[in-house]
Structure formats: structure tokens, C-alpha cells
């Protein structure tokens, strides 16, 4: 996708997959940390937040992409923010209508989706330069990647901190929950551990590729 020019305009599987893995918002770009850490005390909260962000991301990127030739360059950021805020307000009311319990659990963090750097970042870096369909697909991939990242955090924190997953108890009554995991420090630690894991994995893979290349050259 790094190829310049027309190559970027084409819709391909990679447009979608980019956000899932190579440019994963949570683990690779480390964007949108505030909602990531604040709401991931349980898997359900994490999934709701992920879905809400995905909805906002997809619709705003689509609209911004549609308007990309109409919006003057000087006021584009302001325009993007107003567009994003509009969709966030809609999602805010949507969640309130669907489940009041979830709405209370997520609190102000639903409205704070407005300032999630992923959305403004994608609007500026991708949607404003690509046709609507490509922008929409890419946003969908990014949203999915973000949701997976949130879920990975929420699941680990709920399993360790409450001994359950989706509210179902996993270890029986004897389990002593590791309460710090659902408190603020736990969020930092779990995300740090995930990043360590990915860095280690990348390094191993990189090392192996280097060795393979060396052997190739040797032969």
C-alpha cells in the first residue's frame, strides 16, 4: 500500500487487512490509548467500545471521503472534527437506547470518542485522499483491528482481575481475583505486556529472516 499514485486508489484485500495486522491501531500505531485503557475492565465493555468506535470511524471516513474535494484545505481539521462529533453524538444516543447499563459503565468515554486520535488520524491520512469505497473498507479494517486490540486487553484484564469472561465465572469460587488488573495500573501493565510480546515476536521473526537470508547468501 506504500506504492504511490494509482496503486493506492485500487480497492484490494489489503485495504481491509492493513488495519487488522500490519498497521493495527492498538498494538502497532499505539493510538487511541485513553479509551483503550479506561474501558477495558471487562470483555463486554471492550467490545462495545470497539464497535462504537468502528461505527463512528466508518461513517466519518466515508463522509469525509465524499466531501474531500469540497472542503477547503485550511478548514479541513475543523470540518473533520465537526463531522466526527456529529456521528459520536448519534452513537451516544444509540448506546443509551440499546443498553442503559452499558451506557453507565462506559460513561463519558463514549463522548470522548471524538478525540480518539485514530479517527482524526485516519481521516487526515487516508479518507481525505481516497475515494469513498476504499476509505470505507480501510476504516472497517481499522475499526476491526481496534476492536480486536480492545478485546485482547479487556479479556485478559477480566480473566485475571475478576476471574470471569463475559461475566461467566471461569475458575470457581476458590479463585482469588488479581484485583489490581481491573484497577488503572493493570491497564498499563497488560498493554505493556502485549506490546512486549509483539516486540519479542517481531524480533524473533526478524532474526529468523536474517538467518535465512544469510544461509541463502551462503549457498
Amino acid at each position: 500500500m506504500t506504492l504511490p499514485g494509482q496503486q493506492e486508489q485500487k480497492l484490494s484485500m489489503d485495504t481491509f487487512l492493513e488495519g487488522l495486522w500490519r498497521q493495527n491501531p492498538t498494538f502497532v500505531m499505539v493510538l487511541g490509548m485513553c479509551p483503550t485503557l479506561a474501558v477495558t475492565v471487562s470483555a463486554v465493555n471492550a467490545l462495545t467500545m470497539g464497535l462504537a468506535t468502528t461505527i463512528v470511524l466508518v461513517f466519518s471516513c466515508w463522509l469525509i471521503s465524499l466531501l474531500r474535494k469540497l472542503v477547503p484545505k485550511e478548514v479541513r481539521i475543523a470540518t473533520y472534527i465537526v463531522i466526527i462529533a456529529t456521528f459520536v453524538t448519534a452513537v451516544d444516543y444509540l448506546i443509551q437506547a440499546v443498553s442503559l447499563a452499558l451506557y453507565d459503565a462506559l460513561g463519558a468515554f463514549i463522548q470522548l470518542i471524538v478525540v480518539n486520535c485514530i479517527i482524526l488520524g485516519r481521516a487526515e491520512a487516508h479518507a481525505s485522499k481516497h475515494p469513498p469505497l476504499v476509505a470505507l473498507t480501510n476504516a472497517l479494517g481499522m475499526g476491526a483491528g481496534f476492536t480486536i486490540g480492545l478485546f485482547a486487553l479487556g479479556a485478559v484484564r477480566e480473566i485475571l482481575g475478576s476471574g470471569s469472561l463475559f461475566g461467566l465465572s471461569l475458575f470457581g469460587a476458590d479463585f482469588q481475583p488479581w484485583v489490581v488488573m481491573i484497577l488503572p495500573p493493570g491497564g498499563f501493565f497488560v498493554l505493556g505486556a502485549w506490546l512486549l510480546l509483539f516486540a519479542w515476536w517481531k524480533r524473533r521473526k526478524g532474526g529468523r529472516a536474517l538467518i535465512a537470508e544469510g544461509q541463502h547468501h551462503g549457498a
Binding site: M33, P35, I81, V82, Y93, V114, C117, P185, F188, G192
Partner: protein
Amino acid sequence: MGHETISQIVVSALLANNFVLAMFLGLCPFLGVSGKLDTAFPMGVATTFVMLVASLCAYGLNLLLSAFHLEFLRLIAYIVVIASAVQLVEMVLKKYSPALFRALGIYLPLITTNCAVLGVALFQTAREYDFLQSMAFSFGGGAGFTLALVLMASVRERLQLSDIPGVAQGTALSLMLAGILSLAFMGFAGMGG
């Protein structure tokens, strides 16, 4: 109506419910600008100033919007006000301290998307603080943000000279550090109510 006294609100926002370490607001600049003490402190002060202005405007706007039953416009109105306040700070800094302006770079306009700023406006509305309480809340929050940023920058400056495993370098290390700081701040729990 919130019933906390002014000092309770300040201490709570500063320590017990520190914006960065307990409420996870404003993490992007926290991880991004905390590399050096020289930039961390001014960044904290600039953010605090924006917070105060935003809180002031948000309070007035909320009264206005409530009077006309336009609450659904609240979010959009707040974000526009914050963007303007950031623009103001940017112009002031550019005029009076160009060096600092360059040092803060991209993170200065990014104060707009700092959740701590919008967070102040949203939380003070949700908790129905009156005017003085709102001001105290935004001041405590800003000071807490500055405190966290300065602490983090001091630790990271020291770590530059130490031997860290290659895998742990970068964001993973910063997050672990933040976790430990956050653990320390949990000791303040219960203070300020």
C-alpha cells in the same frame, strides 16, 4: 448538584483521581512528550491553560444550551470551543516563545484532541459542578496532568543512561513505567473524597 468543597475537588483531581494515571485521560501527550523535562513542563502548563479556558467556556455554553434545550449539540459546541482555545495558545506561544513553540511541535495543535481537555468539560457537566467547582476541577486536573508528565519525564531522562533489554525499549517500557507510577498514585485513594 455536586457537594464537594473546592479543596476536595482540587486534591481529588490532582492526586486521587489523577487525570492521567487514574482516569486515563490525555495519554497521547503523556507518552509522546514525556521524553524530556524541558518540554514536559511547558506542555503541562499549556494544557492546563487550555483546560481552564475550555472549562470556562464549557460552563457558559452549557448554561446557554440548557436554556434553549439544545443539549444534543453539547459535544459539537465543546469541541469547537476547545479548538479555538488551542489556536489562541498557539498564537500566544508563537509570538512570545518561538523556541518553545518549535519544541512542542505537532503536540501543540494536538492539545485539541487531548481527551483530558474535553474530559474536563464533559465531566464537569456530568457532575453538575457550579462555576467555582468547575474552575477548581479544571485547575486540579491540569496540575495533575503536569505533575504526571513531569514525574514521567524525570524517570525517562534517568532511564536513557541505563541498560534496557532491546525488546522492552520504546512504548512498552513507557507503559510499564506508567503502570508503576499509577500504582504509586493509588496510595492517594480516598483523599479528597
